[in-house]
């Protein structure tokens, strides 16, 4: 229920606030759809077809209705049927927004999930190692690299890696999207660049969490029982450290599923992030609406999954 409420609030906000704030008139929107130098009759027909001159609440109602039960656009001469989650048609390409999102979502999924696997493995192991070897050269080196990682945005590491790995040393072929479906390892460079940023963040989080956990009383108890240090660290320490990190992880992945905008732009990968960005550049309202709504949906779902998982992992949550 709460999730539905959030989704509705988001659609409401993007529908009412964005176009109004931008000060776009219905003529402008219709003009964009019509193309170059439209005449008044065409404009009027377009406005009539999409209901641009209807009061905003009516348009909002139509939008919501389109998402829930689908919509039919009737021009008098022909009818266009837009089935259930209908988010309208791009003003630019006249393509169904839903179709565009469905086309591009797998690409973004691959970027986000591939990078997520990399950064969790790298970040958590480096964080644990750093915490256990606190103050040593290993810890200092790892944290220096992590600081660099947190500070360097993807558009920097991405361009740098493209320049050297792909163009100068030619270690990898340039990222090529027609192949993404066939060979997901084409994405290795974007994965590494995106994972580097997050791994650095997670290494720092894990290290701080681990240092705190290892000072807990229950760790002392575990040692007092005579458990081997390995068990103390990985079973008792890591378990307690990873629970809060899991929350952050879920939300980060949810956020990226809605579009890894900078990564996609840097490597020119046509994912959801690109779609949203192009929509904004071209004032393609239905596309912006659709992309934002999708991103919001992923974040809300990620929240839900994290909440459920928390109950599984932490018995104190389960019983309260």
């Amino acid at each position: 229920m709460g999730l539905l409420l959030i989704i509705s609030a988001v659609t409401y906000a993007i529908f009412f606030l964005v176009p109004r704030a931008a000060g776009v008139s219905s003529d402008d929107i219709a003009g964009r759809f019509a193309g170059k130098q439209p005449d008044a009759v065409t404009l009027a027909a377009i406005k009539d077809r999409f209901g641009f001159d209807d009061p905003v609440p009516v348009q909002y109602g139509k939008f919501i209705k389109g998402i829930v039960v689908g919509d039919t656009y009737d021009t008098g001469t022909d009818k266009i049927d837009c089935p259930a989650p209908c988010m309208g048609y791009s003003f630019r390409t006249n393509q169904s927004v839903t179709e565009q999102i469905v086309d591009r979502a797998p690409i973004t999924f691959m970027i986000a999930l591939g990078a997520a696997v990399l950064w969790v493995i790298a970040g958590v192991s480096i964080g644990v190692l750093s915490a256990l070897r606190r103050g040593t050269i290993i810890d200092r080196a790892a944290m220096a690299v992590a600081l660099a990682g947190v500070s360097l945005p993807v558009f920097f590491t991405g361009l740098l890696s493209l320049a050297f790995v792909v163009h100068k040393w030619q270690l990898l072929p340039s990222v090529n999207y027609s192949d993404i479906g066939d060979n997901p390892f084409n994405l290795i460079l974007p994965w590494i660049c995106l994972a580097f940023l997050y791994a650095a963040l997670y290494a720092r989080l894990t290290r701080a969490g681990m240092l705190e956990t290892m000072n807990e009383d229950f760790i002392r108890t575990a040692r007092a029982k005579g458990l081997p240090e390995r068990t103390v660290v990985f079973k008792h320490g890591l378990r307690a450290t990873l629970t809060p990190i899991m929350t952050v992880f879920g939300l980060d992945v949810g956020l990226l599923l809605g579009g890894a905008i900078i990564t996609e732009k840097t490597f020119s990968i046509p994912g959801l992030g690109q779609l949203a960005l192009d929509g904004v550049y071209q004032s393609d309202l239905p596309v912006v609406l659709g992309a934002t709504l999708t991103a919001a949906l992923f974040i809300v779902l990620a929240n839900l999954v994290v909440d459920i998982l928390y109950g599984v992992v932490d018995p104190r949550v389960r019983h309260s």
Partner: protein
């Protein structure tokens, strides 16, 4: 060998500070013997002398109460015996002999093998001392299986047995509960079940009742005493509550600034104490059999910093009788002297002076 005979009636005795050094690493006859234990922590502000030359002995079946204010080194001593002090930054010297095996110079692996099996510990706050994500049963099973090569099923049965023995109702059901589903007293019982799961011969209880309701405290103390008799284990009871010590202990070791101020049988410590600090502890203990209008006599001042321990007798800035010996306590550290068999105190005042002060000034006010 400068070890003194502490007399037959005291099973737990004390080894002379100096003697330990001379004695070298000779295995003692006592079950647990701590010789000149020093645990220091170098910090940015200076060397923290948490434990600074502590020696004592303990036999099976006996209970030693270690009392003292916060920061007197009680807990560090107990953690040091189990090898649970922070090995990264602590320097430990001296000797700890447990049943003929020396622990200070033993490898961490050897000490680990003894922990939980031969020596176990009960902690102050059972909620934070148990892992919140594992069931109580799992945590007991884990403690049992690390030292006993048995199947999970056998270990689980053992865990249920142990829970039943420490008085948890329906142990076969509660074994699958998480620590947060237990009440405070139940949790401490479970903690005791965990500590006793491998029949340890030495049990160290670090303020086991401090975090509990008063009504539950007595139950837990009774439980510890009963189990001690059943297992015939040696118990070190660390507390700042003299009532607990009087209840449970055979002997008392009063710690001040990382050293032993007085060592005596419970009877001597309560009726013939010979150290001004022990007087202070007795004076600040509330008693139900006294008029409420009578005020407690707190010890003035605060416990000393363990970095800049006062010169001479560490207690002298807070001692009301320091002037009686012409400032000797400010310059010269008093040795721990055995004044009667099994009764030792470290004080510059003459035995005669102390006996007079106790009889005339302190005792009437208690």
């Amino acid at each position: 060998m400068a070890r003194r005979n502490t007399g037959g009636k005291h099973a737990a005795g004390l080894v002379d500070d100096v003697g330990a050094h001379v004695a070298g690493r000779t295995p003692p006859s006592a079950f647990l013997e701590v010789r000149d234990l020093r645990i220091h922590f170098p910090t940015d502000d200076g060397l923290v002398r948490s434990v600074d030359g502590l020696s004592f002995r303990l036999e099976r079946g006996k209970t030693l109460g270690i009392v003292g204010e916060s920061g007197s080194g009680k807990s560090v001593t107990s953690l040091g015996i189990l090898g649970l002090h922070n090995r990264r930054n602590a320097t430990v010297s001296g000797e700890i002999w447990l049943d003929g095996q020396e622990l200070v110079h033993a490898s961490p692996g050897d000490v680990r093998a003894l922990r939980g099996r031969k020596m176990a510990m009960i902690f102050q706050d059972p909620l934070s001392a148990m892992h919140p994500f594992y069931t109580v049963g799992h945590q007991i099973v884990e403690a049992y299986r690390v030292h006993n090569d048995v199947s999970k099923r056998v270990a689980r049965k053992h865990a249920i047995d142990m829970l039943g023995r420490v008085g948890i109702p329906k142990p076969d059901k509660r074994v699958d509960d998480y620590p947060h589903q237990f009440s405070g007293g139940m949790r401490q019982r479970a903690m005791i079940a965990m500590a006793l799961s491998c029949d340890p011969e030495l049990l160290i209880a670090d303020e086991p009742t401090t975090a509990l309701d008063v009504t539950v405290q007595a139950q837990i103390l009774d439980l510890i005493r009963d189990l001690q008799q059943e297992f015939n284990s040696a118990v070190i009871m660390i507390t700042h509550d003299l009532g607990v010590v009087a209840e449970l202990s055979d002997d008392i070791l009063v710690m001040y600034a990382g050293r032993c101020a007085e060592y005596a049988s419970v009877d001597d410590a309560f009726h013939r104490p010979l150290h001004p600090y022990t007087w202070g502890l007795l004076g600040s203990m509330p008693r139900l059999d006294r008029e409420r209008s009578e005020r407690l006599m707190p010890i003035k001042g605060t416990p000393p910093s363990l970095i800049n321990v006062p010169s001479g007798c560490a207690f002298h800035p807070r001692c009301a009788y320091g002037e009686l010996n012409g400032g000797r306590s400010e310059t010269e550290r008093p040795e721990l002297v055995e004044v009667e068999p099994g009764h030792k105190a470290a004080c510059h005042l003459s035995l005669q002076q102390r006996r007079e002060i106790w009889e005339s000034e302190i005792r009437p006010k208690l």
